[in-house]
Symmetry: C2
Subunit: 737 residues, 2 copies
């Protein structure tokens, strides 16, 4: 070859090489993803995570955490907090901290016990209720078992005739006052537990002018048919009684620092200005004691459906007990309120991709006594979730978003630990929190799963339960979803029943105040056939490890299933590239709630006409929301998931959807209930009410003193609801007009 040929040949080679270099370059350029595709990785880890949580471990945690009482504010509960911190660190969390607050708690006076007496006309106490519950076998040497009491009861020794007010519900007092003509003013009332939150009973009694209220557990409400009292079965023994706070906080948290965290430097209001404290003495008793009070009452016979199951004939009162003698009832209450330090345990796993997005699993640690069910069945499950997450991290996994685990303190005293933490971190939570999953008692029955959650979590709940096995014997090979579906189908569609969130547990501040998508899951009874309230030994000394191990979940597979549901939820929320929240489900729920509140209003057709009350704006808003939600999910299907900012933007829309339903002005008279779609019922904190502003405006409106004003308020609330739904729809629309 001549030198020219050589040059040409080399030029050719160079060209070819350069060409291949460029091809390589271009392929390299485009092959590189702009973000790590997290989806495949996380799917396999979800399976690992669910499998890692095991019944035996949960059993072990439950045993370990229920040996001693862990009352909020006690040394034992601080010790437990430290133990949990140490174990969570050992499990592998990035950091774990104890977070203290100084909140108002309430304890019986140790030297001056609370009780109720029957006193004769000479003032002699001829009967006194018991000062404590008989302690269950094996716990005889345990000290510091707090006797049954109503936390935050006013002190006092009121003495008067007794009036029986059934469950003490709004409708019970209406019946007494409007139909039976019985005035409770200045009397002591006695109400049976059940149906509604005890704080509402106390509030109703105060509104009726009562000067004290006795709460008792009736077998009709705290004993299941064919079941023996503990320890032979899981019914409430006659000497058992239900502790519990009797506050009406409406989401305020610590009564002395509403709206702000109870830190050392925080200003505290006086006790007179405190939020939600009852102004009258309150005390709980068991049914053995209740019989004595009830069987000596005067007055008319109770209506049939007020009679309970005490198998005594009694009257409603007032009237002298035992006919013509002048016996009365005296309450002796010496409970003290005191500012006390509590401790949340907060554990963190830093998110790998979006550390500034938080998914929270929180449940309380404090218990009235041993807390076998409430809360340790839940806390044991959280503990197992933390252990499993730590295990995965040791295999190299780290969630896309940050995971926060919380062991709340003082839930029993008004959701205090969780609410103070929410108040403390409201700004960052508002900006960064994706979801809050609650972990109170994981079991309250032996039948099937129960889930209460925000509508946008419905689909994820169904998805996760399809990945979990049924824990029931004889259902091998069946998924939890199938088992649940079979046992508790929704009335509205062919899928398991999911309920609205009410309150009474630690999700309240996160969901109702801050507007963070929230949910809870637990194992429950058959709600169609088992009519007792809650579970029979609720808040008694009989909530032990043994009651779970012997009766509720001997294999611990039910708790395992609950652990996997709760764990699966937080795992998916923390790890899915696109947030697994379903806006169309929200739209469907809004449609249902709008129809239902409209039906309620339609019970007053003449007034609707007279005051020109229309729900058109609300229905139109729900329609707007429905279209926006459907369009949003259609656009989501076309999302370029390799574009990190585009994914972040839709995730922000998903995350902030729940926030959009909150209104800083709050509900009328309840400034810390800011969610316009959901709030605890004004008549029962445990129950969730949809469109609560409209519901409350309509409540008992036929008896309004000023109907014009009352219906104006209905119209105002419809307008607020319509605006809120419209504005939530706006958040789902394309971000530029």
């Amino acid at each position: 070859m001549g030198s020219e040929d050589k040059i040409i040949s080399w030029l050719c080679r160079l060209t070819v090489i350069t060409a291949f270099f460029f091809i390589g370059f271009i392929i390299g350029w485009f092959a590189r993803p702009t973000t790590v595709n997290h989806r495949h990785a996380s799917k396999s880890f979800l399976h690992d995570f669910l499998d890692e949580m095991q019944a035996e471990n949960i059993k072990h945690h439950l045993r370990k955490f229920t040996r001693l009482p862990h009352l909020a504010g006690s040394q034992q509960n601080l010790d437990l907090a430290k133990q949990i911190r140490a174990e969570w660190m050992e499990f592998g969390l990035d950091s774990v901290e104890l977070v203290p607050y100084d909140v108002l708690l309430s304890y019986p006076n140790k030297t001056n016990p609370n009780y109720i007496s029957i006193v004769d006309h000479l003032g002699n106490e001829i009967f006194n209720t018991s000062l404590a519950e008989p302690v269950p076998e094996g716990y005889e040497d345990v000290t510091d078992i707090v006797p049954p009491y109503s936390a935050f009861s006013a002190k006092g020794q009121p003495e008067d005739e007794l009036v029986y007010v059934n469950y003490g519900r709004t409708e019970d007092f209406f019946k007494l006052e409007r139909e039976l003509g019985i005035n409770c003013s200045g009397k002591i009332v006695i109400a049976r537990y059940g149906k509604i939150f005890r704080g509402n009973k106390v509030k109703n009694a105060m509104l009726a002018g009562a000067k004290g209220i006795v709460l008792f557990s009736d077998p009709a409400d705290y004993c299941a048919d064919g079941v023996e009292p503990y320890p032979d079965g899981w019914n409430l023994p006659g000497g058992g009684a239900q502790r519990g706070n009797v506050l009406n906080l409406n989401g305020a948290g610590d009564p002395l620092t509403p709206g702000y965290p109870a830190k050392e430097y925080t200003y505290r209001s006086s006790l007179e200005d405190a939020v939600g404290l009852p102004k009258i003495p309150v005390h709980p008793i068991g049914y053995h004691d209740a019989v004595h009070l009830l069987q000596h009452m005067g007055g008319p016979l109770p209506p049939d459906n007020w009679k309970g199951a005490l198998n005594i004939s009694y009257r409603i009162g007032p009237g002298f007990m035992d006919g013509l003698n002048q016996n009365k009832v005296r309450m002796n209450i010496h409970t003290n309120n005191q500012v006390t330090r509590i401790y949340n345990v907060i554990g963190w796993i830093r998110g790998a991709v979006e550390p500034d997005r938080y998914v929270i699993l929180g449940g309380h640690r404090d218990a009235w006594v041993f807390g076998g069910i409430d809360p340790v069945s839940g806390a044991a499950v959280v503990h197992e979730s933390v252990r499993a997450a730590g295990k995965l991290m040791k295999k190299g996994w780290r969630p896309r978003r940050t995971l926060i685990f919380a062991s709340w303190d003082a839930e029993e005293f008004g959701l205090l630990g969780s609410t103070e933490w929410a108040e403390d971190h409201a700004r960052v939570l508002q900006e960064r929190a994706v979801a809050y999953i609650n972990a109170d008692s994981a079991i309250e029955g032996m039948y099937t799963l129960r889930v209460d959650c925000t509508p946008s979590l419905h689909t994820l709940v169904y998805d996760i339960t399809k990945k979990v096995s049924s824990p029931e014997e004889g259902e091998e090979g069946m998924t939890l979803y199938q088992s649940w579906h079979k046992r508790d189908n929704s009335t509205e569609r062919d899928a398991p029943w999911i309920s609205k969130l009410g309150s009474g547990s630690d999700f309240e501040a996160y969901f109702i105040r801050l507007g963070i998508a929230s949910g809870r899951a637990r194992y429950t009874k058959n709600r169609k056939t088992e009519r007792y309230s809650s579970y029979p030994v609720y808040h008694s000394v009989y909530e032990t490890y043994e009651i779970v191990e012997r009766f509720y979940d001997p294999s611990f597979r039910r708790l395992e299933a609950v652990a996997r549901v709760r764990g699966g939820l937080i795992f998916s929320l923390a790890d899915s590239p696109v947030l697994p929240l379903d806006c169309v489900e929200y739209a469907m729920s809004l449609t249902k709630y709008a129809n239902s509140i409209y039906q309620l209003a339609l019970k007053h057709p003449a007034a609707m006409e007279q005051y020109s009350v229309s729900f058109d704006s609300l229905f139109s808003a729900v329609e707007n929301f429905t279209v926006a939600a459907q369009d949003f999910h259609q656009r989501l299907d076309q999302l370029d998931t390799s574009n990190a900012l585009a994914v972040r933007m839709v995730n922000d829309q998903l995350m902030y959807l729940e926030r959009a339903f909150t209104d800083p002005l709050g509900l009328p008279g309840r400034p810390f209930y800011r969610h316009i779609i959901f709030a605890p019922s004004s008549h029962n904190k445990y129950a969730g009410e949809s469109f609560p502003g409209i519901y409350d405006a309509l409540f008992d409106i036929e008896n309004a003193v000023d109907p014009q004003e009352a219906w104006d308020e209905v119209k105002r609330q419809i307008s607020i609801a319509a605006f809120t739904v419209n504005t939530a729809a706006e958040t789902l629309k394309p971000v530029v007009s």
Copy 2:
């Protein structure tokens, strides 16, 4: 070559080619940025953008928009809205919409004019104030010039003795009642304009029990020395009077729909329940008319510093005018409130990278009459910014974030258009708004620049003004920063003076209610030597195009400079990869405010001691914030700006910082003022107060009826301020604990 050699040779070639392919691939892989580097692009475009805005164009816009009156609610103002929409579309915005609201406005009764009379003892009106201002030359044929009135005045014809209350400030009423022993209850009061917002004067008069209030412009406050009245100079003529609303809305927006946008379906309260309406008649007059009312008054002589410049000897009243005759003053006010449709014009430029981040430039369009200064000097500047942005877009530029331009309606009636839009879009603004720059009157004097803004914008303001030339003759080659610095140095450091935001313009809802970083800039007088209030012809018919063209800015270079400042701010906020917000400046301001409120409290050393009032928690919080801000900016220096998500995360922290200072519970009695660091003064809406909760709690505390309660409130407010500053610090800390 044998076939083996050939194979080897081909293998060699293949290897080389493959090697180069891989090299290419790898280089390609790593060469690709994971996000577009926007920084260089935007810097050169900033220069283009500033240059594009030109004096001649602003002059043209001002001329065009000031030919007719544009009162809110009028056909002319709707026509102008449509014209602006059309021109903004033509300039090249992505979309422009008219957004209507139906708000409460207030107009004089056309057939029954408002005036003030002197009536003799027989009830004859022996003097009446003028019904209109003499119309300036060239505008004689213009119809629909609304006469001077106080919008939202109550109707009525009260008649009584007159009491002169100086400026009608809180301290003026204190002086009258506490030192001079004059009771205004049941009297008509007359106050001179100036020093504070007129609505505060009316509120003070109501609190003092007055049954009407006359407002007048005194030459001491509305004439500059050595300047002729318009049209020969820019002083207020004796027949001119100041229109203006006399509401006390405290940020509520439309008085009938507080907290919610005034849409068709929105519930409206009754007029009795409306927010902020005065309960007494109010009317403004000029100094020619004022002389007549004042010179016949009885009572003691006014204190020297109350005398103004009317060159008449008058007394304060009450007392019969003219000594022993029984003349009185009668107000004749027939102004009507009516729900009226208003229109905002909203224009959008979709952001290229982060369309879900909004930077807003907003200013009002409605004017009392021609609006030569207020607002069209500002609106013309906005118009020029929109034109310049459109021009750049035609060159291929698109901002990183979304730009929103707003022409607000009904600002003059209580910031209604801007507040309703903020209420309407509160959720998305809260989630997405980076900053709000206000564009009311761009000029109120001929001396130098005036900027009021949130502390985090200080540094950007200085940076931008260094890129703009001084508009002053004889300052060629000097930057606006240098000119400004020379003319108005801060008392605290060697840099131009920047003030806090007060209120009285449309940024209020964005800054004080929603917590969006905000600022405003305009050309102003020499605040040290020019003591007149506002600018003399403020809200009179003499605010014409000509007053700007002849006196305020003949070259239109001052307006051009303001346009470049406002434009440069929104450009940088919309286009900088990392948001140009400075948290350390916020820390410095907080330190200053904490010291200053502490000094105020220290005026009561005995009480501080007696009630154990400590500012330690506040100082400690400010220290926490300072450390967090410094650390944040240090981390920012190490930010990997090629990581799109990492940049987004710090930008979110920067964006949400201002939000963190807001509290949904609002300030005491002012639920729509939610910013804990800044609020309009309770005694003068125009002025900004720092730590307003503490300030108001301390105000006049030496005269508190219950000192314990008053000092408890001080302590509560310190606690809230400390918590808020701490929680804002938390938002700047690393996102994972």
